[in-house]
Subunit: 685 residues, 2 copies
């Protein structure tokens, strides 16, 4: 039973699932050919020559009433020698066929499994309508090249290009000299067939051959998505064929020794002739080390890495490129270049990867809002949000995006490294042994906590044993936020950020340190461990950081002429670990219902990965950044006013009605300079 | 008196000569603006800002009846301070004005002198209808760039590009990292004006900034046109603004130590692993030396060289690029790449020029017919000839082109270095002291000659004194051709190439050397000088070389199905010095009326210079080479037959009717093996 009148002996109906695409084909047509003619997404690297096995399909047999077709057992040609050889050598799931070998002999329903699709979904975006499908700039293509003909002379390269154009439908193709040098031996060794790694630039219409191998090349091509932060350089190693992440790794940015935050690095370049060159050399050396390390971890040779995408803030951007960032340290904060860049890895002295590897650096938005913010915009797509969303990428510098499908604003705010555990007396990086969660009983003022590496609370039986390897070593970024917020909720800290004395708070955990007080979170001294306290200085550092963040958000809201936002997205490696409630108690983010605070993980890193896996995303973000309006915090007079108000916990003027529904903050004051100590005593509610 | 009705106070008629373009313009319009709007070719580097002085024009005053206009003395605004300052500083021809300063105040006739035209004619081609006008790929452009605006953030580079697009109408613009590094300081030092060296690729639609200077840059940009031959590397240093040749220089190709001719170099690469790398390094080192030398000679800094064009045969082409030429040594003689190439000079290790300098290598036609032949085709344009023309570029390898506007054929022929004086017993390079012209009296068999460096014949009074500095040192290529041809005409050499004995020829200048004879051209031994003879071996070497050349021409004529050609063009540095009559007596070239044999000088070098000065010529020759059909001499059976016939002087089978009209060759034979010595005696006519 078929859906149109036809002569059964001449052609047959082929239906592909899940696409539902269908068409009639002459008997003997290979399934791959049918798929291509119908525009079905069926992969092939070898061009249908039974070599690569990427075109595996699953034929369905029996009655398919939904499609109005019955598939007979002989609907495809028999399992053939090529398939047998492949299965013996590599293995193949039962019921699978090679689409290039199996030929249509009757009506048939063909399922294309996800792994046989070129445009596999690989990056499921956290807060977005669409998923990212594979469409990488660099892919491996197998071609058979015409042999030279003395009477119709053309270069071997020109014949290779013709083959690529005819067999793969690519446009103009170029090759650098090192590839031209290797071309003739490869063609002859491969008996006029080669595999090339072909790179499609999004700026330049021409493709470029990055590598060439005789015959069919089994090896995989890899790419790196790098989030180059002021403090940390994080990299994801991805398979450029299926988008899978083989390894993720990070190293400290060695530029830290020239200055902890961005402006201190710009100052270093200003004060020290050649300082920018030093910092450029440092970060490039670190990148080479990171490439080696991640390749070793994933057990691949680093020369099989053909692409790198970078996201970074403007100062990191300039220092990576070898451009003196001095102009970024002073108004009008002019970038040397704001557009995206397509480079050779060699231009950046990244030598560990393939010598022909290409680099794509996402565009910057402005002098203080960099490619990292563009990457967040690519990943989170505020420009497609129906709700008014505030996206906060918390790092040494915070990037903020506010907007919806009508308009998007961006700014950056110099939060400093406090949120990352730096400038905190017991602060440390997020690592095993670091306190990451804190709870303080509002009655007893006793604390319990969890450390990275264990799911147990410190009050749980077995906690000591579970943490004996790591110990309890300090407080990481999310831990300090929770600690300060819990201290505020427990009435140990007042709105102004002062820690009360033991007398004022009624707990001996508040100890005097000079003229101020500290709260003892954990005393490990009896066992030779550290005394972990939250000091008045720690509170001040957090106040400065969170006030900068909130003031930035308020500036964007002023520009947008709104009083409240509808959704908050916390991004950044750190953002994923922040408790929304504690962030709001601190007044880090504007008041919003807690279920409207969403964690997006490392959105900048995700943006880098999207740009790595999908070349069209590069065009998309280049167009999108032009529509994002940048607000300059550094010269906006209202920033200072917002900042001062936001120094209070949660805020001196802004009310937090959504927060009030779930948390009542004690009305305490420990400021003894005016009303005396007793007046500050906590009133029990 | 004007040609249209108008209100005299509002606009005026402006007529440009020599173009004849005319139009009405509002009073106060600068002459440069009027020129631009009419499409008149009036130069400007600074964009009309009174800085560069390239827009000088000469206004005409009085009655111009031809144009129907009378020009009053106040037709242009008065000489102004900008012009005064320029004239004081640099000087200016009386009557000249700066087109950007002088404004139209009444009807006026404006002459644009040749040096103020952008598209100056610079290369007058020897045998062609059209002349080459300046349209170089790289030019200096002055631009004023918008200052950064914090509220509308864009990169400095992006604003520079916008300025270039708005002020110079260019398309997409790119810059490499070294330029981006220098961009911000240059813009600020130049108070937001810069001059850039902008390169327009013919493959890539994008322009590229090669250099940048603060403000207006006075310095000139230069280019090199290089003819990379097997034996000699010749370079012309050209001003990229006006096309003038500042210096021409040449060095020996150091690859000679690996083999005198092309095939021996290919053999060296085959027999010695890494041999190709050695030869590549040798030629690149020589190129760096040549760049330094020619820059020193012209008194310019080599970093002001921004472009190099190369022409060369396929083996030189591959060795320059670092590609092993092994495939060129065996059928099917496959080139690694036949297309033109656009590279960085740094890709070829040419370090002496500007670090951003670009290289253009003309396309090859086939495995034995290279970019040098393409350059000859560009210079001589056989494809535009109404006559059937044979173009012979004589070098160590001869390149031949045959055709007319209907069809063009090409081949190469391995003549070897005999025509360049190598493999000749008294042979030497063309240098002072070398015999270049020879006459032998057919009656007395006495010779007279001229040497390079003097216009006197050796029979003239004062010859000895005139040549006392150089001496008489040997025979150069054109000298040996004349000597052998004169010997044939004087009956000293027979059709088979045998030199007769003193007895057979009746002159004691024929001396025995073993079983063969030599002819004494000059005996300097009495004064300690050399004995310069033409030996039987010399005749054999010339026979082999000229037979190869003629056989190549005959193959092309066979393919074209013609018996005679209508014109012969002798190209190559050597071709310029060959006497057409003597070449035809030898049977080097097909029979044609002597006035139809034309010397084109170094046509390959001219082609390189055309490609340097005119970027459109690159597209043109790339399209043209595809229409040139290549004939492969190496595997064509008829080549051998033609070669054997052409070994006779002039030829065993072909008649030379045109030659017969002016020269009667003696019917002599000195072959004593068959009919004995006496039978070979010359019969006097």
């Amino acid at each position: 039973m078929t859906d149109t009148t036809h002569t059964p002996t001449e052609d047959a109906l082929v239906i592909f699932t899940p696409s539902g695409k269908r068409g009639r084909f002459a008997l003997g047509t290979p399934v791959l050919t049918a798929a291509r003619q119908l525009g079905v997404d069926l992969d092939s690297v070898c061009g249908g020559r039974g070599i690569c096995s990427k075109c595996q399909i699953t034929p369905g047999y029996g009655e398919f009433s939904k499609h109005g077709v019955t598939v007979e057992a002989d609907a495809l040609t028999d399992w053939n020698a090529v398939e047998e050889r492949y299965k013996t050598k590599r293995g193949m799931i039962d019921g699978r066929r090679l689409g290039c070998q199996a030929k249509v002999m009757g009506d048939v329903v063909i399922d294309v499994p996800p792994e046989s699709q070129v445009h596999k979904q690989v990056i499921r975006k956290s807060a977005s309508q669409r998923d990212i499908v594979m469409d990488p700039a660099t892919r491996a293509l197998y071609v058979e090249v015409a042999e030279p003909d003395m009477h119709e002379p053309t270069g071997d390269f020109e014949r290779l290009v013709t083959a690529l154009q005819q067999q793969w439908g690519v446009g103009e193709v170029a090759a650098e000299l090192p590839i031209l040098r290797r071309l003739q031996p490869a063609l002859r060794k491969g008996n006029w067939s080669v595999t090339v790694a072909l790179h499609k630039g999004n700026h330049d219409a021409r493709h470029r051959i990055l590598d060439i191998w005789p015959g069919f090349h089994e090896g995989k091509l890899y790419g790196l998505a790098i989030d180059l932060g002021s403090t940390t350089i994080a990299a994801h190693l991805c398979d450029l064929h299926d988008g899978s992440v083989l390894a993720s790794s990070g190293v400290m940015n060695p530029q830290i020794r020239f200055g902890e935050d961005l402006m201190s690095r710009v100052s270093y370049a200003m004060m020290n002739p050649g300082g920018d060159v030093e910092m450029t050399a440092a970060v490039r050396t670190a990148l080479n080390g990171l490439v080696q390390a991640i390749a070793t971890e994933a057990k691949i040779v680093p020369t099989s890495i053909y692409e790198i995408t970078f996201v970074c803030n403007p100062v990191m951007h300039h220092l990576l490129l070898g451009i003196d960032p001095v102009e970024l340290g002073q108004a009008p904060f002019a970038l040397a270049t704001s557009g995206s860049l397509v480079l050779d890895a060699a231009d950046l002295d990244i030598k560990a990867v393939n010598p022909a590897a290409r680099v794509y650096i996402l565009p910057c938005i402005a002098g203080h809002v960099g490619a990292d913010c563009a990457a967040v915009a690519l990943s989170e797509e505020p420009n497609k949000s129906k709700e008014m969303v505030l996206i906060v990428d918390v790092g040494t510098n915070a990037e903020l995006l506010l907007g919806n499908e009508s308009r998007v604003l961006a700014c950056s705010s110099p939060t400093g490294p406090a949120f990352e555990g730096a400038q905190i007396s017991s602060g440390q990086r997020a690592a095993p042994g670091a306190i990451e969660r804190v709870e303080i009983d509002p009655e007893t003022k006793e604390a319990r906590f969890r450390v990275i590496g264990s799911d147990l609370w410190s009050s749980d039986p077995g906690f000591v044993a579970a943490t004996s390897n790591s110990g309890i070593t300090g407080i990481c970024g999310s831990g300090i936020i929770e600690a300060v917020a819990e201290m505020r909720m427990a009435g140990l800290v007042d709105q102004g950020g002062l820690i009360g004395s033991a007398d004022q708070t009624g707990t001996t955990r508040c100890i005097a340190e000079g003229r101020t007080h500290s709260y003892v979170l954990h005393d490990g001294t009896a066992n030779g461990g550290p005394l972990i306290t939250v000091t008045q200085g720690d509170i001040r550092a957090i106040q400065l950081a969170k006030a900068a963040l909130y003031a930035g958000a308020k500036l964007l809201m002023d520009e947008m002429q709104i009083e409240t936002v509808e959704k908050v997205v916390l991004a950044g490696a750190f953002g994923a670990h922040i408790s929304p409630k504690h962030a709001m108690v601190l007044g880090m983010i504007p008041d919003v219902a807690l279920d409207k605070v969403i964690s997006a993980g490392n959105a900048a890193g995700t943006g880098a990965r999207i740009a790595l896996c999908n070349v069209a995303a590069r065009d998309y973000i280049e167009a999108t950044v032009h529509q994002i309006h940048k607000v300059e915090t550094a010269i906006e007079p209202r920033f200072q006013e917002h900042f001062v108000n936001a120094s209070a916990i949660p805020n001196a003027v802004d009310t937090f009605p959504e927060l009030s529904k779930i948390v009542t903050l004690p009305q305490v004051s420990f400021n003894t300079s005016g009303s005396g100590g007793a007046g500050g005593r906590r009133r029990r509610g």
